[in-house]
């Protein structure tokens, strides 16, 4: 079926899974307000939310399976969107499952918390679909506002409130940047639709228009904030530390993935022809993010801050895929997002499982000798750490993710060899802190005064073992996911990537340029 997005009925059809999630969330919101707050009520809402997410996942899978398409309009109907949606929904399910126990432990009885999470996720799904600057903004705000509230959901603690206010202020700040960027791009091109922005840049020769370039720079800063790329990452550690742990997991996994999905589509669909101007900026953003994230993480002794810096570092690795920007880069991008989401979710689930009420003690040292008391959790955590480190077999899919990004970087028509080297060297640096966690758990003796961790409840354990199983199984047989991500490039992404800093660009007239792999293999860059 090819949706005609100009007809409201067909537009709704193209938004099917999104509408399903939003509608379901509304009903759950009403029901959660229907009864007085209680732990049991919170639990029921949470379980229903998980069920709703699963239904939505099935719907998304159906849309992906039937291969719907649409004409070029405000939203995209392509596999990139569906793949991203599945990642968000997996992260949401994981988050809700851990928060069921977490909220019970911390005495948070508001069932609305789960509904807010669903609303944030629907914002993300809109972001992944957005093919219009206004829709991008709409999605970002839907997502962000819900997450501002969620960071402060544990309002009795000072840290949570502090994190919420910080996140709110800086998030509003970055939204302003985005909005400015959108306004300037609109001012320069007279359009907000990605395809038409692309067309007008081409038609009106705007490559050197100051208005447009400032607009693009503003957008870059805005997205830099949202994905926590250095030097716009300062807010992340404090907010991640202050937020309730499941929400931290959600921010590190899903929020980052959603911002990246929009970032990727926007820059590669709307601005490929002015790539020379933003390419170098993203190149440096990637390099600095990898270096800053990894180096500062070395000094962290608090597990949540350590994971926060680790997530900053991973934003850098993902940016490498953005820099590459080819179809292969897009495939590597989705693959990496998936692997990163699974490992991050799992790691935070272990943190939740080992936490105590109030979460006053989050030092890595508190896990000393964990292996002797909770061997299962310790092994799972080691798998997540090695996955984030990108180690083969034991780190499962994490290795293939890095491998794929490296492959995309080196196989691009303009091989990013130096960026690949930065990635590799900073990965080595990251072994310093990932192995620190492993070392503490396995090699330090258990403090005899340390209490035995409470037995984690079934929901949290399911998240831990589910993500570990996914990481390990796909860590030996990744082909299904590779093949899926390969079919999931944004429709308008092209393989025409001009050489950075080259003065003239090969301009292609059509909005959908032809793939150029065949042409390129003649002038192979790997050196004949």
């Amino acid at each position: 079926v090819n949706f005609d997005l100009n007809l409201p009925a067909q537009l709704s059809g193209a938004l099917g899974p999104d509408l399903l999630l939003i509608g379901g969330a509304m009903i759950l919101l009403l029901w959660s307000a229907w009864r007085p707050e209680s732990d049991e009520h919170q639990r029921n809402i949470g379980i229903l939310s998980i069920a709703l997410c699963i239904v939505t996942m099935v719907a998304v899978g159906y849309y992906a399976y039937t291969g719907y398409t649409a004409n070029v309009g405000a939203i995209a109907v392509d596999n990139f969107r569906w793949a991203a949606d599945e990642i968000f929904l997996i992260a949401t399910i994981g988050t809700i499952a851990m928060s069921l126990d977490y909220y019970a432990r911390e005495g948070i009885t508001a069932g609305e918390a789960h509904v807010l999470l669903l609303l944030a996720t629907s914002g993300m799904m809109i972001l992944a679909a957005a093919r219009d600057l206004i829709i991008v903004f709409l999605g970002i705000e839907m997502m962000s506002i819900a997450v501002y509230v969620l960071v402060g959901i544990n309002r009795r603690t000072e840290r949570s409130a502090e994190g919420a206010i910080k996140y709110f202020l800086l998030g509003a700040f970055s939204s302003a940047f985005l909005l400015y960027g959108i306004a300037l791009v609109y001012g320069a091109t007279g359009e907000t639709n990605f395809a038409r922005v692309y067309g007008n840049i081409d038609k009106l020769h705007l490559e050197h228009s100051a208005l447009l370039l400032v607009g693009v720079a503003m957008l870059l800063v805005g997205f830099g904030f949202k994905v926590a790329a250095a030097p716009f990452h300062m807010w992340a550690p404090d907010v991640y530390e202050g937020a309730p742990t499941p929400i931290t997991a959600y921010m590190a996994a899903a929020v980052k993935a959603a911002a990246f999905a929009a970032f990727f589509r926007l820059f590669l669909e709307a601005f490929p022809t002015i790539l020379t101007t933003w390419h170098l900026a993203v190149w440096w953003l990637a390099a600095i993010t990898m270096i800053v994230g990894n180096v500062i993480a070395l000094a962290q002794r608090d597990i949540k801050r350590l994971l926060a810096y680790s997530s900053i570092a991973h934003a850098g690795y993902i940016l490498v895929a953005v820099v590459v920007g080819t179809k292969l880069g897009s495939s590597a991008f989705l693959f990496y997002l998936f692997a990163y989401t699974m490992a991050t979710l799992g790691a935070f689930a272990v943190v939740v499982a080992l936490g105590t009420r109030g979460e006053n003690q989050m030092q890595v040292e508190g896990y000393a000798g964990l292996w002797t008391v909770c061997p299962g959790l310790a092994v799972a955590m080691a798998v997540f750490m090695l996955a984030l480190l990108g180690f083969p077999i034991f780190g499962g899919i994490g290795f293939f993710a890095k491998w794929y990004v490296l492959q995309a970087a080196l196989q691009s028509p303009f091989p990013q060899t130096r960026l690949a080297i930065v990635l590799v060297v900073t990965s080595l640096v990251s072994s310093g802190y990932y192995l620190y966690v492993v070392m503490v758990m396995f090699m330090k003796p258990r403090d005899s005064a340390a209490p035995r961790p409470l037995h984690a409840s079934a929901w949290t354990r399911t998240v831990v073992w589910g993500s570990a199983a996914v990481i390990l199984i796909f860590g030996v047989f990744p082909d299904a996911i590779v093949a899926f991500t390969r079919r999931s490039t944004p429709t308008l992404t092209t393989d025409v990537v001009p050489e950075p800093r080259s003065p003239a660009l090969q301009r292609t007239a059509a909005t959908t340029p032809q793939p150029v792999i065949a042409v390129r293999s003649g002038q192979s860059t790997a050196g004949h």
Binding site: V425, M443, I517, A526
Partner: protein
């Protein structure tokens, strides 16, 4: 024997079986019910070690068939298996053996059961995890020797790292955390650079549809890299292998890791894992980049580093107060011989290098086992705390002396054959270096003889040493096979050499042939 093996289709399944048996074994061991420490020996779940031992014996028996089924006259891959693994990336599960890999595989499967016996009573806690890690480590080691696909090779290469990291870090000595981290990071940095080089090669070979190809054979047949690129790629592979060997300036992780590791860990590190580096040179670095490897400057640098390693390792070993550290440094010296033999690149020197690899695995493995046995009795490894114990433990003393002599390279033991071949082989191409290297043999005699003198023969002046029990039956049983092999390889190494020679010859032809071709094309230009 050959007929019997053919009748059971041995060649078709042996290599996958060698990789699968340890995996199944590891799962079985982890599933064993935990038993609390037995009162008499205080060992947790003692059944784990028994199961592990028999799995390793099975592994050895299965691999032993290759001794007969391998056809030395055939220089192609044998017992090859080639399956699709990750088609989207052009990665295949592709394994096979040649003469060199054959000997390395047999060495591995031979050492592993002995390593289990060596840990029999010294590993007391978490035994199930320990033996499961040993089994997983074996998969990685065998996989490195068998891989015919660069991706598979890399995965197997890294697979070895984590089990060894845990073995050192959990069951190691006092400074185990420092040593294990150092080991991990030292090995991982160059491995990652090698990863970039491997991806580069895979992309270089990509098909028209853009799928990379990591096949070793294809890489050999179509490799036409520009000289500069080849040098960079060679450098990446060189670093990864040189750290593992370890060559002279990259060796600093070795004394820490070897000393802190538990006995079996040291045996595996020295006996098997160091061979990964030299094997990597033979299998990958030389044949893939003959131009770079035969570049005069590069070759001289490597040879000089190798000779420095020989002399330096021996001199440092001489002044060690700790017996285990002494053996660790002697490895640096022995592996210098291997590197000299490989890069001198004559048939004799390469064969000699291969012999040294095998001999070092056996002799140094035996030395580490002996150090472990005496350490279990006295809980010290300092040479000065012993003296004159030959009278107390005659059996131990006799075996230690014999193994030391084989490590020195006494004619009639295995050590002699290898080093002699390396020296005469390299004398033909690099006489000066060979003469300097020959002094390393003298130093080896000095440090080892001096050490056994201080342990075994000086006056028995310490009361603690007067009542050490001698070797028990288990320890004797695990040492006897090693002694038999030491004598066998010293007296009649021909069967081993015959199996390796064609592969060594092919290697040399390939490297020199390609270099000659490259020179020709340069002249033509």
């Amino acid at each position: 024997m050959t007929n019997f093996l053919a009748s059971i289709g041995y060649n078709a399944w042996v290599l996958p079986a060698l990789l699968v048996i340890p995996l199944i074994g590891a799962v079985v061991i982890l599933l064993l019910p935990a038993a609390t420490a037995t009162p008499d020996q205080g060992i947790e779940t003692p059944i784990a070690r028994v199961v592990a031992f028999w799995i390793f014996v099975l592994e050895f028996v299965v691999s032993l068939g290759m001794w007969w089924s391998y056809d030395p006259g055939n220089t192609q891959w044998q017992a090859g298996v080639d399956l699709s693994w990750i088609p989207s990336w052009g990665v295949r599960f592709s394994v096979g053996i040649d003469g060199i890999a054959l000997m390395m595989v047999l060495l591995t499967t031979f050492i592993m059961p002995l390593a289990v016996l060596g840990s029999w009573t010294s590993i007391r806690t978490k035994t199930r995890s320990y033996y499961a890690l040993l089994l997983i480590l074996t998969i990685g080691m065998l996989g490195v020797f068998l891989a015919r696909d660069l991706f598979l090779f890399y995965v197997m290469w890294e697979l070895m790292l984590v089990p060894m990291y845990f073995i050192i870090g959990i069951w190691g000595g006092e400074r185990r955390i420092y040593a294990s981290l150092k080991f991990f990071i030292y090995t991982m940095l160059p491995s990652l650079l090698m990863l970039v080089a491997i991806i580069y090669l895979g992309i270089h070979l990509r098909t028209a549809a853009g799928t990379p190809d990591f096949s070793y054979d294809r890489l050999l047949s179509v490799s036409t890299l520009p000289e500069r690129t080849a040098l960079w790629l060679f450098a990446a592979f060189f670093l990864a292998f040189a750290v593992k060997v370890p060559m002279f300036p990259f060796h600093t992780w070795l004394p820490d890791a070897h000393v802190e590791a538990p006995t079996a860990g040291s045996v595996i590190l020295a006996g098997l894992m160091l061979k990964m580096g030299t094997f990597g040179f033979l299998r990958f670095a030389l044949p893939l980049f003959p131009g770079a490897a035969m570049n005069h400057t590069v070759r001289m640098i490597i040879l000089i580093l190798a000779v420095i390693g020989i002399i330096y390792g021996a001199l440092v070993a001489m002044v060690q107060p700790d017996f285990k550290k002494l053996v660790a440094y002697s490895s640096v010296s022995h592996l210098g011989f291997v590197m000299l033999g490989i890069f001198a690149l004559t048939v004799q020197s390469v064969q000699g290098a291969l012999m040294v690899m095998i001999n070092h695995g056996i002799s140094t493995g035996a030395l580490f086992l002996l150090v472990g046995m005496i350490y279990e009795r006295r809980h010290t490894r300092l040479l000065d705390s012993y003296g004159g114990i030959a009278r107390v433990v005659p059996l131990f003393a006799a075996i230690l002396t014999f193994v030391s002599l084989s490590s020195i390279g006494l004619p009639g033991t295995n050590g002699f054959v290898g080093e002699f071949l390396v020296l005469i082989g390299s004398y033909r191409t690099y006489p000066v270096l060979a003469i300097i290297a020959a002094t390393g043999v003298i130093f080896a005699a000095t440090y080892l003889l001096w050490a056994i003198q201080r342990i075994l023969f000086n006056p028995l002046d310490k009361a603690e040493n007067a009542h050490i029990p001698d070797l028990n039956r288990r320890e004797l049983g695990l040492l006897v096979p090693l002694l038999v092999v030491i004598v066998w390889l010293g007296v009649y190494p021909a069967p081993v050499l015959r199996r390796m020679e064609p592969s060594a010859q092919v290697l040399i032809n390939r490297v020199e042939g390609n270099t000659a071709l490259a020179r020709l094309s340069e002249v033509a230009r």
